[in-house]
Amino acid sequence: MTPSLSILVIDDNRIRASIIEQGLRDAGHDKVIVLGQMEGLVRKITDIEPDVIVIDLENPNRDQLEHIFQVSRAVRRPIAMFVDKADAGSIEAAVDAGVSAYVVDGLKRERVKPIMDMAISRFRAFARLNQELEEARSELAERKVVDRAKGILMKSKGISEEEAYRLLRRTAMNQSRKISEVAQSLVIASGLLMD
């Protein structure tokens, strides 16, 4: 049996890092190390001697990392990006998902591909989750601002909640804007006028 690969995950988003770490462990990789920051990275890479490094594309330190690989005598072997230049589809999928990888030279494609696929799918899942959370948050915020605008109209015009909502909706339709946008400007305007 071939010895298991050691995998270094560099990601300062701790939730995403642990999602990837868990995925790799579930797939039978027991040598997974997660690093959140770049400090002392050269020494850590020397100690860990990773076969594969997975890093998120938001990390501003990729240029530094690539330079370390290029010049450092401390790093065990030259490390090249991705398994195979010809594997354009997988490169594209990785960049699309927001993840990049560096692989020790000479490592067999079949051994690295499942790791990359795993990282790609976990990154995608995380991005989807994040987006859903973001949407839920903004939906909630929109509902709140519409409620406030209704309250302002009810008070200033002495109308019912339903009438206030209809007024907002009519204004929004006439101006081809979203109700929440109209509500937002109303809230801001009344805030300014009350001061």
Binding site: L57, E58, N59, P60, N61, R62, D63, Q64, E66, H67, I68, Q70, V71, A80, M81, F82, K85, A88, I91, E92, V95, D96, S100
Partner: protein
């Protein structure tokens, strides 16, 4: 709404002052006026710019001038043939050192005005003393191995008798963390674009000791990079974009617009920093340290065909430095690829110029601060000299 059909161009950029042309083209109506929807995507590293342009996420990108060459010569991963179709400005970089190192350099007679001959000699003196005392090597930072910053720093050191690989240590760091690394004592100096020297002078007690404009006057810093494939498939659109960016460049060059440009670039979409950090470079009045302001005409410049036209000779200078520092092996066929990468042809065609302009006036080549003249004629001597040294 106009009836003209809009074409979309997606451009990747890093938040630096010299993304000005792209920023102004997209946000001050220049692209729209030509029927182009210019979508800007802010990135966090040059590695991302390289990866995303090579997989086709970006049509064009703000790039370090040597990057398209490194890609065309397959010196990097995900390398594809690339073109530097126009320079996005000249100058903009400076070399800063920590307050402590500056005191030592001053004791060695370093000039206050950023004269690279004087400050280089002073640094060489400091390094000799430190070496005799058994002190650790001074540690410098640059933003990327294939960058004007790396070559300017190395050129200045080498011309001052300091070997960039034996006498100092050079690391790559993102520009945004340079000032903090200097303040924390992890770096003794660095070469970086503005506003990151001003930030360190303001917040980390750093001192600017010389500038790109002094080391290699009028030299290109960032370029508009495209893959050769995209350029071939979208020639007309690319020429239209070049015209748009030239209009934006002339707007940037007009002093009337300076304050508006500074606020645009300082905004959250671009640098997201105090506007006060953006003014010195745009005004050509650098704060060398908290007390000293030095006027440097042309420190960071935009505008005019001469300045933005790519030149084979500039590409060749970068290539010569790659050979000099062991990043590339010299070959005649690579020379041809470099010329192709930095060819002015498309740029001149876009502007309806016949090519006379690009050649005229610059036959004498580029003069560097140490008196070396770099031109087509002296290229072979330079490279032969570099190969001998290595």
């Amino acid at each position: 709404m106009s009836a003209i059909s809009r074409q979309t161009i997606v451009a990747g950029f890093l938040p630096l002052l010299d993304c000005a042309l792209l920023a102004v083209a997209a946000r001050r109506g220049f692209a729209e006026a030509e029927g182009i929807e210019l979508k800007l995507v802010r990135e966090t590293s040059w590695a991302n710019i390289r990866d995303r342009i090579s997989v086709g996420h970006f049509d064009v990108a703000h790039m370090l001038a040597p990057m398209p060459i490194a890609s065309s010569l397959s010196l990097t991963t995900l390398a594809v043939p690339m073109r530097a179709v126009m320079a996005l400005g000249t100058g903009g970089n400076a070399i800063s050192v920590s307050g402590d190192l500056w005191q030592e350099m001053k004791a060695q007679g370093a000039a206050e005005d950023g004269d690279p001959l004087s400050t280089g000699q002073a640094l060489a003196g400091v390094i000799r003393n430190r070496s005799a005392a058994g002190a650790p090597l001074l540690h410098f930072g640059v933003v990327h191995p294939f960058s004007g910053h790396a070559y300017e720093l190395r050129y200045w050191l080498a011309a001052s008798g300091i070997h960039p690989e034996r006498d100092v240590e050079i690391s790559v760091l993102p520009p945004t963390v340079m000032a903090d690394a200097l303040a924390a004592g992890q770096l003794d100096g660095y070469c970086v674009g503005e506003p990151w020297n001003t930030k360190a002078a303001d917040t980390a007690g750093a001192r600017i000791v010389t500038t790109k404009e002094a080391i290699w006057p009028g030299s290109p810093e960032k370029v508009l990079g495209v893959t050769a494939k995209w350029a071939e498939a979208n020639g007309d659109l690319l020429m239209q974009l070049i015209k748009v960016l030239m209009a934006a460049a002339d707007w940037c060059a007009d002093p009337v617009n300076l304050e508006e440009l500074a606020s645009l670039l300082a905004g959250p979409e671009f640098l997201d920093c105090p506007v006060d950090w953006c003014r010195p470079a745009l005004q050509g009045r650098l704060r060398f340290d908290a007390q000293t302001e030095v006027v440097i005409p042309g420190f960071l410049s935009f505008g005019g065909i001469e300045r933005h036209c790519p030149r084979e000779e500039h590409g060749l200078w970068f290539y010569a430095q790659m050979v000099r520092w062991g990043q590339a092996q010299f070959s005649e066929s690579d020379l041809g690829l470099v010329r192709q990468t930095f060819s002015p042809a498309l740029f001149l065609k876009a502007l309806g110029s016949d090519g006379a302009l690009a050649k005229g006036g610059r036959d004498a080549g580029s003069a560097l601060f140490d008196g070396q003249i770099f031109s087509e004629q002296t290229l072979a001597d330079h490279i032969a000299g570099y190969v001998r040294q290595s």
